[in-house]
């Protein structure tokens, strides 16, 4: 545990000093500040738009961070053979995988936490400045619940990165595979629902397609389930049971990915 913790902190330190991270944070802060300029455009919808814009900005920053900073932190370790220096110490490969994963998660959590604090300040300022009428449906709990859902999505997405890094030696391939899983994960729910409802009604699908889609939905993570911005903007709280089941889904799916990553990485030869 001590070694996992040490590697997680090392990974976090390496990531937090990456200039790309500063770029992403500055861009996200600018986007959040820009929402202040747009307040007069939305009238009665202001509260909903603010929640939507702030959460979207945080999610976008999280995605950039995951795909460009975290992939570098993990995949380049193997690409550039930095892994030799870590594994020359008494680390098991499973400890290495876990240490790197927790480091990436820590980096995402800290960065997004700073952004959510900043966005909270902006919403608070706008809400207090004669616009509380337009925030009738707004709820802080719903806002933070949506943010927590986003964090759980990143818990899962970073496990995807670790999984692909354990298979490939190239950071570019890890990026391509992880992006594919993200895009599929965001759209799999819609595709499944399309096949289940409309395609069956109009008889435009084959049994093979049905079979493939039916099983693909269990293979790919359903990332769209973590997007509850719409509920948060309308001030609708997601039930505790649904929240817990989604959090459980993220943790179990991530644990499985880390288990397979560790299994593969243990067998892998580091040439």
């Amino acid at each position: 545990m001590k070694r996992i913790q040490a590697l997680a902190i090392l990974t976090f330190k390496e990531g937090i000093r990456d200039r790309a991270l500063y770029g992403i944070t500055i861009m996200a802060v600018m986007m959040l500040l820009a929402t202040i300029l747009l307040t007069n455009l939305f009238g009665h919808e202001l509260g909903k738009v603010m929640v939507d814009l702030c959460l979207s900005t945080i999610a976008f920053a999280g995605l950039l961070l995951t795909f460009f900073v975290n992939i570098n932190l993990m995949a380049k370790d193997i690409d550039k053979r930095t892994v030799y220096s870590v594994l020359s110490k008494p680390f098991s490969r499973t400890e290495y995988i876990m240490g790197k994963y927790f480091g990436l998660i820590l980096l995402v959590f800290v960065s997004l936490f700073l952004l959510v604090v900043f966005s909270t300040g902006i919403i608070f300022i706008i809400k207090s400045a004669d616009a509380s009428l337009y925030f009738k449906d707004f709820s802080w709990i719903c806002y933070f619940q949506a943010f927590a859902f986003q964090l759980m999505m990143f818990v899962l997405l970073n496990a995807v990165i670790i999984f692909f890094s354990s298979i490939t030696s190239s950071s570019f391939l890890t990026l391509i595979f992880s992006l594919s899983v993200y895009v599929t994960g965001q759209s799999i729910e819609e595709v499944v629902s399309f096949f289940k409802k409309e395609a069956l009604v109009y008889n435009i699908t084959s049994p093979v397609n049905q079979f493939v889609v039916e099983y693909l939905q269990y293979v790919f993570p359903n990332l769209s389930a973590f997007d509850i911005k719409m509920f948060a903007s309308h001030g609708k709280l997601i039930s505790i049971s649904h929240t817990l089941s989604l959090f459980g889904y993220s943790i179990v799916y991530s644990a499985l990915l880390l288990f397979f990553a560790s299994l593969i990485f243990n067998k892998r030869e580091l040439k």
Binding site: K2, R3, A6, L7, L10, K13, E14, R17, D18, K80, R81, T82, Y84, S85, L87, S88, K89, P90, F91, S92, E95, E269, L270, K271
Partner: protein, 312 residues
């Protein structure tokens, strides 16, 4: 034994369904505690592959390796081991001090002693002024020296160095040579491979010469001195019986126009002189040449190079 390497083979497949490459073939040796063991060989000889198998980065296709009685796949085998890879690469946004703190922590060094150990090593490797600087601003030689600090912070009993001299300037090389001599005097076991034969010759108790994945020779320091001093005798009036007697000592005979040249070691010289006296063989010239490791190395690999050319 600190290291036991028993009939190690390593093969790689090149590409999808590609041909099999034998990187290491039937390598066996043992390294005793406190010994400095050097591996030399041309590029592609399999030296680094062998060291990577010691570290558990690669697994042998067959054979067995043990480090202090443990398999390299056991993380605990690296508890008492320091490793410097060829062209080491570290986290470039971290400083040498942070890197060493990490190394000390995961190797179980007492946190109270860490600070002292770090400053002592930084001073030893002449990196005191750059300890807090990020590694991305380091030159290649400085990264190499930081790597040595990283490997030695927990005062390991076994030190594995892969091309430790590469990228070091003469001052850095001197620092490293002094360090290895110091570690040797403290009874540490050191295994390293290098292209710089002078340093290997100077530092190692035994030297293994590798070529095309195989182990050609293992020479002790005494062997090296003995084999290095080669004697050449030019003789005439050599009878058949006399040449058989001289041949039986292990000397090599080469017949030229009016004379025969005998190549022998200094140990063989006394016997050969007795034989020449007994059989009335005239010795016209004796030449003692100092044969360096470089010459022995070139002789050892030349056989393989010839074989390789013949295969082509």
């Amino acid at each position: 034994m600190s290291i036991i390497c028993n009939h190690i083979d390593k093969t790689f497949k090149t590409g999808l369904g590609g041909k099999t490459v034998h990187a290491v073939t039937d390598v066996s040796f043992e390294v005793s505690p406190g010994e400095v063991f050097g591996i030399v060989g041309p590029n592609g000889a399999g030296k680094s592959t062998l060291l990577k198998m010691f570290m558990g980065f690669l697994r042998p296709s067959s054979g067995e390796i043990t480090l202090f009685g443990k398999s390299p796949s056991d993380p605990l085998s690296r508890m008492n081991l320091g490793y410097l890879s060829e062209n080491p690469c570290f986290y470039e946004h971290l400083s040498a001090i942070e890197l060493m703190q990490f190394s000390a922590r995961v190797s179980g060094v007492d946190s109270k002693k860490t600070k002292n150990k770090i400053s002592r090593l930084l001073k030893l490797m002449n990196l005191e002024h750059a300890g807090k600087r990020k590694l991305r601003g380091y030159s290649k030689g400085m990264v190499q020296r930081a790597g040595i600090c990283f490997a030695l912070i927990h005062d390991p009993d076994l030190i594995v160095l892969d091309e430790p001299m590469s990228g070091l300037d003469p001052i850095g090389r001197k620092l490293l040579v002094d360090l290895v001599l110091d570690l040797k005097s403290k009874g540490k076991t050191i295994l390293f491979c290098s292209h710089i034969l002078n340093d290997v010759e100077r530092l190692c108790d035994r030297i293994a010469i590798m070529c095309n994945g195989g182990l050609k020779y293992i020479l002790s320091h005494e062997n090296l001195i003995e084999q290095g001093k080669q004697v050449t005798l030019s003789v005439s009036n050599l009878t058949r019986e006399g040449s058989e007697k001289i041949g039986s000592t292990g000397a090599i005979l080469k017949v030229e126009e009016n004379q025969t040249i005998i190549f022998c070691s200094q140990k063989q010289l006394k016997n050969i002189m007795n034989i020449t006296a007994a059989y009335g063989i005239k010795t016209s010239n004796i030449d003692v040449s100092s044969n360096t490791l470089e010459q022995l190395f070139l002789d050892a690999i030349s056989v393989d190079v010839v074989e390789e050319v013949c295969h082509v």
